[in-house]
Subunit: 246 residues, 2 copies
DNA sequence: CGTTCGGTTGATCATCGTCAAGCAGTGTGG
DNA sequence: CCACACTGCTTGACGATGATCAACCGAACG
């Protein structure tokens, strides 16, 4: 069923019924990805890939062998919007086990031609993503390593909270320290030091792919995290129950 | 005349004739901004503000009094696309003297409803901007201060070259060191040191708002600058002659 | 003539990267 | 069952990058 896709797009502005119908009727192949697998390669054209389960990162490999991570995707996110009109300029990688649903490029194209309303919704989604990128930039440019890490953990936790994927101050975050390093623009060694500080100060613990928040108030203050800035994510998608039923 | 607007949007994918006609017919107020003035305030709704002359920056003021600059806008750029569906989440500031043309929010809305083709073009423009943001992020996260500065100068020069706004290895760049600092995530003092190094090494000179490229090859190598990544900017807009005639 | 703004310089210090080494867990092949 | 390799985490020592503080200079401006 395609209810998740509809719910995901609906967050960004209400869809017309005709669009809903077409979205509900379009084919949706489900695919599973193991940790580290490429969900959407660079140069991919959009197929309305929807992350249904798991966490993923948008990243770009750099000529020097390194990479930069641009953001984290949580269930309910469309992860290949960058490939709507041209090839994606970055790739999307599975952090943990991921489940992705996608339609065909052809069906997407047909629906986009038929429904300006769909195009508008996608446009809003893209703008939201661009805003999130700017927030990420603020972190890279203007925050210390400690604040950047705190902010990242806040974001990952908060977004999963909105999806009811967090419980008792815990949530999945299947990232190794090298992932965090490439997300925050730090060395692996320094990431370790920073995570250790957060742990020692009783703020948060990241271990074995599980993030545990020990002092939410302190963590948000340290990271300068403002939940309001994640607004479009605020409306609950309730991935847990939908995934079970869909 | 609105030819500049049409040419600007046309870069991102051809416009239908009906869209061109409407764009040509829509009102376009011209406004002049002095250096440091806010062209588009945060929370602004899009009015299809088109930078016709001058350089501007997208930036966000931070709670701690600082700011982060997300990118530079050159003539021909639409600078308030972020405000298409919701208020802009950042502001746009004039670096030098700027001339901006804008239609009304109402006319824009009407045209967008009438022409899915226009919406598609805007969508492509937004995606292009998002890609540029990711490149900016790579710089912030993964390059040294020297490389970041070199890259920025390359970008500013290259984009103005494509617009025929550069001559003899020179172009305008009316930014003070504090602007560069907030763009690159550095302190003002360090920006000075970095610019001095670039000057002493015979790569580029930035002085009194004029950027002079002394060794393009060396500068691009140091900054890891890849002109190909600015593709949609490549097609010449020829701002110089258009501005004179429009 | 004093003030402000932007650029310049030096001294000092904190942050963070690099190098190197060790350890635990896991999987693999003998 | 044991060596071995491999990956990810941990720690310490050291050094480089870049921030902070402080002061001075020149030009523009009232």
């Amino acid at each position: 069923m395609n209810r998740l896709l509809i719910a995901s797009l609906d967050r960004f502005g209400p869809l017309r019924d005709s669009v809903r119908d077409d979205l509900m009727a379009c084919s949706q192949e489900t695919q599973r990805f193991e940790p580290g697998q490429v969900i959407a390669p660079a140069e991919a054209r959009s197929r309305l890939r929807l992350l249904a389960r798991g966490l993923a990162v948008k990243q770009q490999a750099l000529p020097d062998g390194g990479r930069q991570i641009f953001g984290v995707a949580t269930p309910g996110d469309l992860i290949d919007l960058g490939g709507l009109y041209a090839g994606l300029d970055h790739e999307v990688l599975a952090l943990g086990v991921c489940e992705v649903r996608m339609t065909t490029a052809h069906e997407l194209r047909t629906m986009m031609r038929a429904h300006p309303n769909l195009l508008a919704a996608l446009c809003r989604a893209i703008l939201t993503e661009a805003q999130r990128q700017r927030d990420w930039m603020v972190g890279l440019g203007r925050r210390t390593a400690l604040a950047r890490a705190a902010n990242l953990l806040c974001e990952v936790y908060w977004r999963q909270t909105a999806l009811r994927l967090a419980q008792d101050g815990r949530c999945d975050f299947p990232a190794v320290q090298a992932d965090i390093a490439d997300a925050l623009g730090l060395s692996v060694v320094h990431v370790h030091r920073v995570l250790r500080t957060l742990r020692d100060d009783g703020l948060a613990t990241l271990r074995n792919g599980v993030l545990k928040i020990d002092d939410w108030e302190g963590l948000t203050r340290l990271g300068g995290f403002d939940p309001e800035r994640l607004r479009p994510q605020r409306e609950t998608l309730d991935i847990a129950s939908r995934a079970a039923s869909g």
